[in-house]
Subunit: 421 residues, 2 copies
């Protein structure tokens, strides 16, 4: 008997019919002799509808009330799945995040899990019941208020529960059949990966792969939770995420895949004095505004002027704010102008195999050059190369890199639309 | 400074526009210098939509999960009202029933409030915040599960909070402007009453007046909470419910109003041996099935047969079940047949004035007789006369009684459609 945590995304729960199908799968798992804990996202468009309602009553709703509002969505879906399980003749009990012992920080809208004390879940499992836990939500340690975990929060709930319950596996069901060597919508012959190490998955998540959110992978890695990403619509095996890159024998280390990200913009601060402390002023200003920057490049100083340029990327949604902020502090920091560009895209190659294959960077650059794609900015880690290109070149960049590193398969991948949370 | 508890029904919260209007009223009350606690029902049709979803996934959903599902509705409306208040520049914090300390029995779908320990509410009020509490819901004392209070539950939440917080008044806002001498849809010149004692309101609620549910009035009476029933759409004073009938001087005691009820059916058990114990068997069988009976009549025994008939009324929704139950036990109980009639209606006259006016029953019966309306069954209390008539005669019965006791005013009452919970 194993303990299995299953997480179902919103599109898998969009209609009564889909809820019944999810319930069937849950009951099958139970009948196979396993203990089952299920985490559900809100049904289909519920969250968007609630956000829309909030917008109608208040232009800038307080985060605490937003959390109270949005958590209703998971409550509804979990109760409905419990009912559907019940109607199949099995026992099920649903719990809110708070009831399941998901204790978080007080950062409404983007709380982090501090601790999971699932005593009521454990008790219910001991009584032979299937347990449902509302994803994406918890209770603040200090104020006892309802909190939400931010994007991808339900995945994190599932992994955190799996860790606390010492589950054998955490299955993430969605409309995506697994982790692919590239987005199958961009690269039709992208292949599903059988297994990915935590480190590689972290890099993929950080560079735009939407299968799992970064925070969820971090949690799985820290507590060593085996994660199985798979499709809600078939019984096929998906992708297992487990194991450290360190444990992969060098000769087996491969290149995992190509990720891309369309959500960033580029800011260039032109004409900064090339003296100690000036670059720091720029980044301090941005950091104080809680803007997360990603790639950074400082140009070589022009000898004749003694000035330099600093370029960084950041989420496009925060671009306007950053420009406004920097412009306000132009005199203080001392630069000549700010240039903003949101027509960019980032493409990344990830894989433990990079460590043992020194020619990767060369092949990477050659492949893009051969396609006439200009590289704007490069950043690398031990197992990743990322470059910035023009947004109109992004799809082609993904395709040529995928081909250059021979990542494709013979079959065309099946794609479903939609995202979960 | 007073402490005011305000309760808003679902139709007052049906759209974002209405929610903003409710928020304005709440903020006005706060600005007038009062402490304000607000209890909201679920928005408009939310509950029906959730019930419909439940029906789609499971034909007979378990009550525990039904409660988890339905309580999402109040969570949504309370959070939205808090946001709307916030956007008007005032502070507001919403709490679930559980967070507000509403402790109930474990009877899912129909729980009773055992205790209210509103320490978090009190704390928030002390910080100068407007407090919102999700109505209709609580937490079970034993299992710590989410419970609901059954029909009219949000009114009960409001009155129970008012009692626990020792509020100065509990205002019930809905599409009804107050308590009327009769349903204005049946009697156009029905008058709004200024004040009604708890006992009279209990009798009105028990005999079909839908303004307040029986349980809510019982709670208000027990804890002596002044209740003000008024319209969400105007600033006019509604009806105050407070004070005991005992405190009304005899000469001021009046007839309060005429209530009617279309929701009952009549069961007649024919040919029961007129010997001790046989009637008890009938009522024990019905009670064991948790069917609530209302009016009861045992006919005089026919001398020639030594048999008698027993007639009782019950909610129409439980009629079929009761007939089936009795038919099954026919041999055991020993009667000749069961007759079922759901073409009935009940009309009641209520008022403390009845005690001091001995001619009331005579006038009552004469009025109906003059209109050619046959009385099927009579039941009385100290301050109420109720009779059963044919359903097709019900409206006319209400009208002639209202006229006979001179309860009408000169104006035509304003009627809004809809009900709250």
């Amino acid at each position: 008997m194993a303990l299995v945590v299953q997480k179902y995304g919103g599109s898998s729960l969009e209609t009564a019919e889909r809820i019944r199908r999810v319930a069937e799968r849950i009951v099958e798992t139970k009948k196979a002799g396993h203990e089952v804990v299920v985490v559900c996202s809100a049904m289909g468009d519920t969250t968007d509808e609630l956000l829309d309602l909030a917008q109608q009553v208040a232009p800038a709703p307080p985060a605490r009330e937003m959390d109270m509002l949005l958590t209703a969505g998971e409550r509804i879906s979990n109760a409905l799945v419990a009912m559907a399980i019940h109607s199949l003749g099995a026992e099920a009990r649903s719990f809110t995040g708070s009831q399941a012992g998901v204790v978080t920080t007080g950062a409404h809208g983007n709380a982090r899990i501090i601790d999971v004390t699932p005593s009521r879940v454990r008790e219910a499992l001991d009584e032979g019941t299937i347990v449902l836990v509302a994803g994406f939500q918890g209770v603040s340690q200090d104020s006892k208020d309802v909190t939400t975990l931010g994007r991808g929060g339900s995945d994190t709930t599932a992994v955190a529960l799996a860790a606390a319950l010492e589950a054998d596996v955490c299955e993430i069901y969605s409309d995506v059949a697994g982790v692919y060597t590239a987005d199958p919508r961009v690269v039709p012959n992208a292949q599903k990966l059988e297994q990915v190490s935590y480190e590689e998955m972290l890099e993929l998540a950080a560079t735009g792969a939407k299968v799992l959110m970064l925070r969820c992978v971090e949690y799985a890695r820290r507590y060593n939770v085996p994660v199985h990403v798979r499709s809600s619509y078939s019984d096929k095996v998906g992708t297992y995420i487990y194991g450290s890159m360190e444990d992969i024998p060098l000769e087996k280390a491969i290149l995992t895949g190509v990720a891309h990200d369309r959500s960033e913009a580029k800011v260039t601060v032109v004409g900064i004095p090339d003296e100690p402390g000036y670059a720091a002023k720029v980044f301090r200003a941005v950091a104080d505004a809680e803007i997360n920057i990603d790639m950074v490049l400082q140009n070589v100083s022009k000898v004749e002027t003694g000035k330099t340029d600093i370029t960084f990327t950041l989420p496009r949604s925060e671009g306007a704010g950053a420009v406004e902020l920097l412009t306000k502090r132009q005199g203080d920091i001392g630069f000549s102008k700010v240039v903003y560009d949101d027509h960019i895209g980032k493409v990344s190659l990830v894989g433990a195999g990079m460590k043992s294959h020194p020619g990767v960077t060369a092949t990477f650059c050659e492949a893009l050059a051969d396609a006439g794609i200009n590289i704007d900015l490069i950043s690398t880690s031990e197992i990743r190369i990322s470059v910035l290109v023009k947004d109109t070149d992004l799809d082609e960049a993904v395709q040529v890199l995928h081909r250059a590193f021979d990542l494709g398969g013979d079959e065309v991948a099946v794609v479903h639309a939609g995202t979960g949370r």
